[in-house]
């Protein structure tokens, strides 16, 4: 079964600094993750938990700019073909203009955008801009989303849907209960591919999710690994962590 488990690994450029964040990417790629979710840090990330928010603050203090973020994506392209999804918040997308941001993301080889605070009915034209640019716009749903919200997200005919498994924000241990599984089945039935995440900590969770989604998203767990290994071998630590998550028995 282990060859069917797939991970979307979340990474924050410039956390804890530029070089080590690229080391983390290398570790993830060498461990064999299937997708990269690169989060451009925003000063006020309301949909993130404390671990990721603190990492974003550190990255901004280390000097991260959006231009640096795109340069980081270029560097990723030189080492891997692993599809990269760019996650950020409305402020960063809206500031230069949604179309301009989407065009820039496309130029830098991004497979898709994930912007939790630009849902389909308050999207500032993001979904159309992505469609025109030929990149995926990935709606984010939660297991408690009302049917009308699910229908709205699916009406954008998304290639991928990002499902936040538990109510709340990232970083706490998630129970993969009946509600979550039922929700994944419902979304999966539409034919869209699912990235399922929030709070995944161990291989058992990845394994349990495997039949229900395209990839399990792992974020906070890597942030903690990077924090612990900062200055003493981020590459090795992240690679080992990713391998342990993929190596489900």
């Amino acid at each position: 079964m282990s060859n069917t488990t797939r991970i979307m690994a979340h990474v924050i450029p410039w956390y804890p600094d530029r070089a080590q964040s690229m080391d983390a990417v290398r570790g993830l790629v060498d461990a064999g993750v299937s997708y990269l979710e690169v989060q451009f840090p925003f000063s006020d990330p309301t949909a993130d938990g404390p671990a990721i928010q603190a990492a974003c603050s550190d990255a901004l203090e280390a000097g991260f700019t959006v231009a640096d973020g795109f340069a980081f994506l270029d560097e990723i392209r030189t080492i891997t073909d692993t599809p990269v999804f760019l996650m950020s918040y409305a402020s960063l997308i809206y500031r230069p203009g949604v179309q301009a941001f989407v065009a820039r993301a496309r130029e830098h080889g991004v497979a898709g955008l994930i912007v939790p605070d630009l849902p389909p009915d308050y999207d500032e034209g993001l979904y159309d801009a992505c469609r025109d640019a030929g990149i995926a716009c990935v709606p984010v749903l939660v297991a408690t989303s009302a049917d009308a919200r699910v229908d709205l997200a699916l009406s954008t005919k998304p290639e991928y849907v990002y499902v936040a498994l538990r109510t709340g924000t990232t970083g706490s241990r998630t129970e993969l209960g009946a509600l979550n599984m039922g929700f994944l089945e419902k979304i999966g039935a539409s034919g869209t591919k699912i990235f399922a995440g929030f709070g995944i900590q161990d291989a058992g969770q990845v394994q349990a999710l495997a039949p229900h989604c395209e990839a399990a998203v792992v974020g906070s767990a890597f942030v903690r690994t990077i924090a612990a290994a900062s200055g003493s071998g981020v590459y090795e630590a992240v690679k080992a962590r990713a391998e342990s998550l993929l190596d489900a028995k």
Binding site: A47, S91, P116, V142, R149
Partner: protein
């Protein structure tokens, strides 16, 4: 023209939130619209506004200041005489009643200066609701007495250590709590901003200020030329201005925090070209952003004005020209505080003192048959530790040292 729920005000407003917050906001929107058209609910709100908050708050003819300035008649709406010392309690009471009606026993709130936190804590005690207040660590330090009072009312005050550790970070933290706990929790947002329906709801609960001003002025036979108030997020301004925003008169002036000056990071003024259209904390408005869209640091001597975004309806009213925006600096606010205390026997909150100074400036340009009304949104007791340090540092230090030594 006038409607309860707008969502957008011109290009500003909206509900730009992650999906997890959609159902609680959708639920809140219908509960709010429903409650405001329910006579029994409104009767209960007004009963408590009178007996618990102490409304109506007086409208004072500031005769000494008027004489001294030598221009228009100056009136002060003494909103700071409401229970807990500021206008904040109007909205806190309205939303807490709404939460109770929605069957939500737990209230969370953010606070900057602490006034909204104190008002929320008090109202929760009165209505028997559980209360947790998020407050930036920086604000907790500069408004320690308010932390003490919130705890006295039985609220739990949680320090926020992320980001700039001020109001905006407290909002982030409260939104996070709400995301996880909306089933039994109402987020009692204190300003006329955030995702819809908050801007509409806060305006409606604060509109009692403007409604009273209209009848108080009319009882005096006064037609106002100009209304002046301070603008942080915009809750007192929207309440004060609300009866007039669809009219062409009187002139409406909002006063922002000019801080130490117009350099980046030294002030909290978003209007008159200093702010940029953006989407932050769930709504589209004018914010202090850098070229990447990151929220920039702000400064004001008054914690209540120290916030990087302005409420969407005010941003819109600024754009249409219905509300004119000016700035007062930290030192002007301190000057205003002393001036009104000595001349009129009224101690303004530092936030409101910003408006006081601009009102004086404007009154000088007008004639004695005209009238300027200032909303003193809060009284200044809460600022003791800031103003004493700013105005009487030596003796204040001596006092504090002695007090600390005696503990």
């Amino acid at each position: 023209m006038k409607q309860l729920y707008n969502d957008f005000f011109g290009e500003f407003g909206g509900r730009y939130v992650a999906e997890v917050l959609r159902s609680p906001l959708d639920e809140l929107e219908s509960a709010f619209v429903d409650a405001l058209s329910d006579e029994a609910f409104m009767r209960e709100f007004h009963r408590l506004l009178a007996s618990y908050v102490g409304r109506p708050t007086p409208l004072l003819h500031a005769e000494n200041v008027t004489r001294d300035v030598g221009g228009a008649q100056i009136y002060i709406k003494l909103e700071g005489l409401a229970a807990t010392g500021a206008h904040k309690i109007n909205n806190a009471l309205g939303q807490a009643l709404l939460a109770r009606r929605m069957g939500k026993p737990r209230i969370i709130a953010e606070t900057g200066a602490g006034q909204h936190g104190v008002a929320t804590a008090a109202v929760c005690a009165k209505l028997g609701l559980q209360c947790r207040v998020y407050m930036g660590e920086v604000d907790m330090r500069r408004q320690k007495p308010n932390v003490f009072w919130m705890e006295m009312y039985g609220a739990e005050v949680v320090p926020v250590t992320s980001g700039a550790r001020t109001l905006k970070d407290a909002v982030n933290e409260a939104m996070r709590d709400w995301s996880a706990n909306f089933a039994d929790t109402h987020y009692l947002l204190g300003s006329a901003l955030g995702p819809s329906p908050f801007p509409d709801m806060v305006r409606e609960f604060q509109s009692v200020i403007g409604t009273e001003v209209v009848s108080q002025l009319s009882a005096l036979g006064v037609r106002p030329t100009t209304l002046v108030t301070c603008v942080g997020g915009g809750s007192n301004a929207m309440g004060f201005f609300s009866p007039y925003i669809h009219e062409t008169e009187p002139e409406l002036i909002g006063v922002e925090a000019g801080g130490r000056g117009p350099a980046q990071g030294d002030h909290a003024a978003r209007m008159n070209g200093l702010g940029t259209p953006g989407i932050v904390q769930g709504y589209r408005s004018l914010f202090l952003l850098d070229d990447d869209g990151q929220v920039m640091p702000t400064h004001s001597v008054s914690a209540g004005l120290d916030y990087p975004g302005v409420g969407p309806q005010l941003a819109h009213l600024g754009q249409t020209g219905r509300v004119r925006f000016e700035r007062a600096t930290d030192s002007e606010a301190l000057e205003g505080l002393q001036y009104f205390a000595r001349k009129e026997g009224v101690i303004f909150a530092l936030e409101s003192a910003h408006a006081g100074m601009v009102a004086i400036r404007r009154a000088k340009e007008l004639t004695p048959d005209e009238a300027v009304v200032i909303n003193m949104s809060g009284r200044g007791d809460k600022d003791l530790f800031i103003t004493a340090r700013e105005l009487d540092a030596e003796r204040w230090k001596e006092f504090l040292t002695r007090e600390a030594a005696s503990l």
